[in-house]
C-alpha cells in the first residue's frame, strides 16, 4: 500500500510538472508576475557585479529589466555558469537567457533565439614576451579560455593543433595568462578588451592579436517552441530600438566612457537571422 501510495504521488507530481511545462510560458510568466533572466554575472559589461554597489549590473541586465517592464512584470536576475546556460533554460529554471549567449546553428536545434542584441567577434590576448603576433602563431602553444562556451571550438577551428585549457570562469583563464600559464587568452572581443583595459600600465607587455577568430552574434535564449515569449521579447526589443533606448544602453555600457571605448554602434537590433 505504501509503495502504491508513493507511486501515485510520484505519478501525480510528474503529471503536474508536465502540465506546467505544457502551459503557455508567457501566461505563466505574467501569472507569477516575474521574468527570470539567466545571466553570467562574470562578463563585464554584459553582466557583472558592480564593485561599489555590489549589485548585478550590465547591458544584458538592463535589457532584461526593460523586457520585464514591457511585459508588465518584475525582473529577477539569476547567475549561471557558462556551461549551465542551455540546460537551465531547457529545464525551466529560468525564463530567458540573457547570458552573453552566441546565436549559432548548432544551438538552434535546442533553443530559440530573440532578435540579435549584440554583434562581436572573438579575439586573443597574448603576452608580448611570447613573440606571437598572429593567430596562426598560436599553433602548438597553450591558450586559456572559459569552459562551455564557443571560445574553445572556435580557437580549435581557427588554429589547428592549438593546446586549449579551459576554466570555470573567464576571469580564471585571464589570471592564468597573467601568471604565464599559457601564452594566450581567448574571449569575446568586448570581455577581452575590457580585461585588457584593466591592465593599466601593464598594457605595454600585452598584445591583442589583430585578427578575429570568429564572428559572434549574441541573442537571448528562449525555450524551444515558446512562440508567445519570443514574440513578446522581440516586440519589446524592437520598441527599445525605435525609441532610441537600445542605442542609449549600448553607449552606457560600451561607449567612449566605458572600458571598451566603442566610438560607434555598427548594428541595430532588428534581425534574428545569422549567417550559416
Amino acid at each position: 500500500m505504501q509503495t502504491r501510495l508513493h507511486f501515485a504521488a510520484l505519478l501525480f507530481t510528474s503529471i503536474a510538472f508536465t502540465q506546467v511545462a505544457q502551459a503557455d510560458q508567457l501566461a505563466t510568466i505574467k501569472a507569477k508576475g516575474e521574468l527570470v533572466c539567466g545571466t553570467l554575472g562574470t562578463d563585464e559589461p554584459n553582466s557583472f557585479i558592480d564593485a561599489k554597489s555590489r549589485q548585478l549590473v550590465g547591458y544584458e541586465v538592463d535589457l532584461c529589466r526593460a523586457i520585464a517592464q514591457g511585459l508588465g512584470v518584475k525582473a529577477v536576475v539569476k547567475q549561471l555558469a557558462v556551461a549551465a546556460r542551455i540546460p537551465e533554460l531547457q529545464q525551466g529554471r529560468i525564463d530567458i537567457l540573457t547570458a552573453s549567449l552566441t546565436h549559432n546553428k548548432e544551438r538552434e536545434a535546442l533553443i530559440d533565439f530573440s532578435l540579435s542584441t549584440f554583434y562581436t567577434g572573438q579575439r586573443v590576448l597574448v603576452k608580448k614576451s611570447s613573440n606571437i603576433t598572429t593567430v596562426a602563431g598560436l599553433a602548438g602553444k597553450k591558450v586559456l579560455t572559459v569552459k562551455g562556451g564557443t571560445q574553445e571550438p572556435n580557437i580549435r577551428k581557427a588554429v589547428p593543433g592549438v593546446d586549449v585549457v579551459t576554466f570555470e570562469t573567464a576571469g580564471q583563464a585571464y589570471l592564468g595568462l597573467q601568471q604565464g600559464k599559457g601564452v594566450g587568452y581567448v574571449d569575446d572581443e568586448v570581455s577581452l578588451l575590457n580585461n585588457y583595459a584593466k591592465l593599466g600600465t601593464a598594457q605595454k607587455d600585452y598584445l591583442v592579436l589583430p585578427q578575429n577568430i570568429s564572428q559572434e552574434v549574441f541573442a537571448f535564449g528562449i525555450r524551444k517552441g515558446e512562440k508567445g515569449v519570443k514574440t513578446a521579447v522581440d516586440q519589446v526589443l524592437r520598441g527599445l530600438e525605435k525609441s532610441g533606448e537600445a542605442e542609449k544602453l549600448f553607449f552606457k555600457w560600451y561607449g567612449p566612457t566605458s572600458n571598451v571605448k566603442f566610438e560607434k554602434r555598427t548594428f541595430k537590433i532588428e534581425s534574428d537571422k545569422i549567417d550559416a
Binding site: A83, E106, R107, V165, G180, K181
Partner: protein
C-alpha cells in the same frame, strides 16, 4: 532521445577515454606519494617529542579543515607564484595543471591517511614497541622493522576507503583545467549538448572503479580480521 552510441565512436570516445586514463593516473601517482608521506606524519604524531607531535597535528588539522576545492585553487593559482622567476617559467612550460592537482591531492589525502595509519600503529600492543627498544633498536628502527608493517596491514581497509574518496576527489581537478574525466565529460557536453549521455558515461566510469576499490577493501577486511 537517449543515445549512448554517439559516445562510443570518434572524437567523443577518445576524449572520454583519455579523461578516464588521466583520472586513473592522478589516483595512482597520488597514492604512491601520499602513502609514505602519511606514514611520516603518523610517525611525527607518535614521536617522543612534543614539538614533533605538534608539527604532525598542525599538518593534519590545517589540511583537513580547508575544503579540497580551495587546496586545488591554492596550488594552481597561488603557490607557484611564490617561486623564483626561473623556476616558475620551467614549471609553467610543463604540465602545471596536473602537477598542481597532484600536489593538492597528495597533501590532502596524506592528512587523512596519516590518521588511519596512526590508529593502526596504536592498535599494536605497546609491549612490542618496548621490546624493540629493550633490544637496542632506535625509535625509527623499531617503527620501521616491527610496528609499521603490522600497522599497515591493520590499516589496509580504511586506507582503501580513503583511496575510494581519493578516486572521487580527482574529479575536482577539472576546476584548474586538468583534462581528467569530469573535464572531458563537460567538454563533450559543451560540444554535443548531450548532457545526459555524457554524464551517464562519467557516472558509470566513476561507479565501476569505485566498486572495484570497494570490493578490494571488502576482501582485505575479511583477510585482516
Amino acid at each position: 532521445m537517449f543515445d549512448l552510441n554517439f559516445l562510443l565512436s570518434g572524437d567523443y570516445r577518445d576524449w572520454l577515454v583519455s579523461g578516464l586514463l588521466l583520472s586513473l593516473q592522478l589516483m595512482g601517482i597520488t597514492l604512491l606519494l601520499a602513502l609514505p608521506l602519511a606514514c611520516g606524519v603518523a610517525m611525527l604524531r607518535l614521536a617522543p617529542s612534543r614539538l614533533l607531535n605538534g608539527l604532525g597535528a598542525a599538518y593534519v588539522e590545517l589540511i583537513r579543515n580547508v575544503p579540497l576545492l580551495a587546496h586545488f585553487l591554492f596550488w594552481y593559482f597561488g603557490a607557484p607564484e611564490l617561486l623564483p622567476e626561473t623556476w616558475k617559467e620551467r614549471l609553467y612550460a610543463g604540465n602545471i595543471e596536473a602537477a598542481s592537482a597532484i600536489a593538492a591531492l597528495t597533501l590532502y589525502t596524506a592528512a587523512y591517511m596519516a590518521e588511519d595509519i596512526r590508529s593502526g600503529i596504536r592498535a599494536i600492543p605497546a609491549q612490542q614497541f618496548e621490546a624493540g627498544r629493550a633490544l637496542g633498536f632506535s625509535f625509527l628502527a623499531t617503527m620501521r622493522l616491527c610496528i609499521v608493517p603490522q600497522a599497515l596491514r591493520l590499516a589496509a581497509p580504511p586506507l582503501l576507503s580513503q583511496t575510494l574518496t581519493l578516486w572521487q576527489n580527482t574529479s575536482i581537478a577539472t576546476v584548474i583545467g586538468v583534462a581528467e574525466l569530469m573535464y572531458q565529460t563537460q567538454r563533450v557536453e559543451a560540444a554535443s549538448f548531450r548532457s545526459v549521455e555524457a554524464f551517464v558515461f562519467a557516472s558509470a566510469a566513476y561507479l565501476a572503479v569505485s566498486l572495484l576499490i570497494a570490493g578490494l577493501a571488502a576482501v582485505l577486511q575479511r583477510k585482516v580480521s
